[in-house]
């Protein structure tokens, strides 16, 4: 058996540091502020690019996401870990994906971005991270009571290829319908003329960085939710090391690039309604915990053939559509008109899932 150095303590720390360094560089090259990489935001932009919502400022086919899945696919094939599987309560995973996205969009960021916002000096991120930890902690209480979503089954190898193929399809769409200066539409794809969706690193760089991170994250099992979950549930610091390295790597890079700006107000793509920053991330953290991975980890799992993780991704895409079509998502002005109600509904649904799904294995 080949030793997997990425899965050692220094391996995961190295992977976290690399992600932490690359994200602010992507920001320097054009990605939005404190959003060098944000899995939730970028999936939301993809939902906009394919017209599932029509929020004009967040429409862009983010190739970082494509790279994450395909990079993980390549790593899993090279190291013979690709395994097509699925069928562990797919509908529950879909619903968890929907509400994970809604919670993240009330805060304005996934756990990755929460850490990148912190490394950029955005104090609101501390409130969001506190919410994330509380959400994950509630999830661990359910785990202790026997919560689980049941076993997955092996499936046809080709079934595991579908999600990477969808991503390749997205890439092909970008190549056929590239952005046209001053136009909000190119063929079937929507683009943003202003706002975060109009800010992006060059396509090829987004794709290459995405592929690289997808590769090393698959090998290391990097997971921002798992970092806190394992710490709370098992007092294990393995994954946590990766998260700490990400924050330190990003902080140092931001300082070098002059992108560090401490404070709570006028932070890029952020609002400072503390209660809802907190509550949004409680919802997201709980949904990620119940689904077994942060949004990044779900993409890497989907790349190695996990159909349940792919369903979670689909849930997040649909959640993004709901979030913008129903005015649930926040903006720098504050929470959306129906964001608070959506957080309440989401928490109720997650508690229902956590309390009722305790099948004895």
């Amino acid at each position: 058996m080949v030793k997997n150095y990425f899965a050692t303590r220094w391996g995961i720390i190295g992977v976290g540091a690399v992600i932490g360094i690359l994200a602010p560089i992507l920001q320097k090259l054009g990605n939005p502020g404190n959003m060098g990489i944000c899995v939730a935001c970028f999936e939301r932009d993809i939902a906009g690019a394919i017209g599932m919502h029509r929020a004009g400022v967040v429409q862009y086919m983010r190739l970082e996401i494509v790279g994450f899945v395909v990079g993980a696919l390549i790593a899993s094939l090279l190291f013979k870990e690709f395994k097509s599987r699925g069928g562990s309560a797919p509908i529950v995973r879909f619903v968890l994906g929907v509400f994970a996205m809604i919670g993240a969009l009330v805060f304005l960021g996934c756990p990755w971005r929460a850490m990148l916002r912190l490394s950029g000096g955005d104090g609101n991120a501390l409130v969001g991270l506190a919410g994330l930890i509380v959400g994950i902690w509630v999830g661990t209480l359910f785990f202790k009571r026997g919560y689980n979503l049941g076993r997955s089954q092996r499936s046809h190898t080709a079934a595991g290829w579908l999600m990477p193929l969808i991503m390749v399809g997205f890439l092909v769409l970008v190549l056929i319908y590239p952005q046209i200066e001053g136009q909000f539409k190119s063929g079937v794809l929507f683009y943003s003329l202003k706002g975060p969706g109009a800010m992006h690193a060059p396509l090829i760089i987004s794709l290459v960085v995405g592929l690289g991170i997808g590769f090393i994250a698959q090998r290391s099992r990097f997971c921002t939710m798992g970092a806190f979950r394992d710490l709370i549930l098992f007092k294990q610091t393995h994954l946590f090391g990766g998260v700490v390295a990400l924050v330190i790597g990003a902080l140092v890079t931001n300082l070098i690039l002059g992108q560090f700006n401490a404070g709570f107000v006028m932070q890029p793509v952020a609002h400072n309604m503390h209660i809802w920053n907190f509550a949004g991330m409680v919802l997201a953290g709980l949904a990620f915990a119940l689904a077994g991975g942060c949004p990044g980890r779900q993409l890497f799992l989907a790349g190695e053939g996990d159909g349940d993780a792919a369903i979670f991704f689909m849930g997040m895409i649909v959640g993004a559509a709901f979030a913008h079509n129903f005015s649930l998502a926040s903006s720098p002005k504050g929470v959306g008109p129906h964001g608070i109600a959506a957080v309440g509904v989401g928490l109720a649904v997650c508690l229902f899932i956590g309390l009722t799904m305790r099948k004895k294995i």
């Binding site: 076993r151 089954q153 979950r229 294990q236 393995h238 077994g292 991975g293 294995i361």
Partner: protein, 72 residues
């Protein structure tokens, strides 16, 4: 094999939770854990190591792993 922990098909953190639960009741001896992903194998090995259990054998069976953990 009857008292083997069958964690195949279960996602994080179930394989580790099941292994640790068993270790709470069984202070030493041998525990067999069946998992079906490399990730689960690594996680169970790490968690067992923290509790003083050694991985003495891993057998690849088709697509699964049969792990033998021991503690004196």
């Amino acid at each position: 094999m009857n008292n083997a922990i069958d964690a195949r098909g279960l996602s994080c953190p179930q394989p580790v939770l099941m292994t640790i639960d068993r270790m709470k009741n069984q202070k030493n001896g041998e525990i067999i854990v069946l998992v079906d992903t490399e990730t689960a194998r690594e996680n169970v090995t790490r968690a067992a190591g923290n509790l003083g259990w050694d991985l003495v054998n891993v057998q690849a069976e088709e697509m699964d792993f049969k792990m033998t953990l021991k503690k004196e």
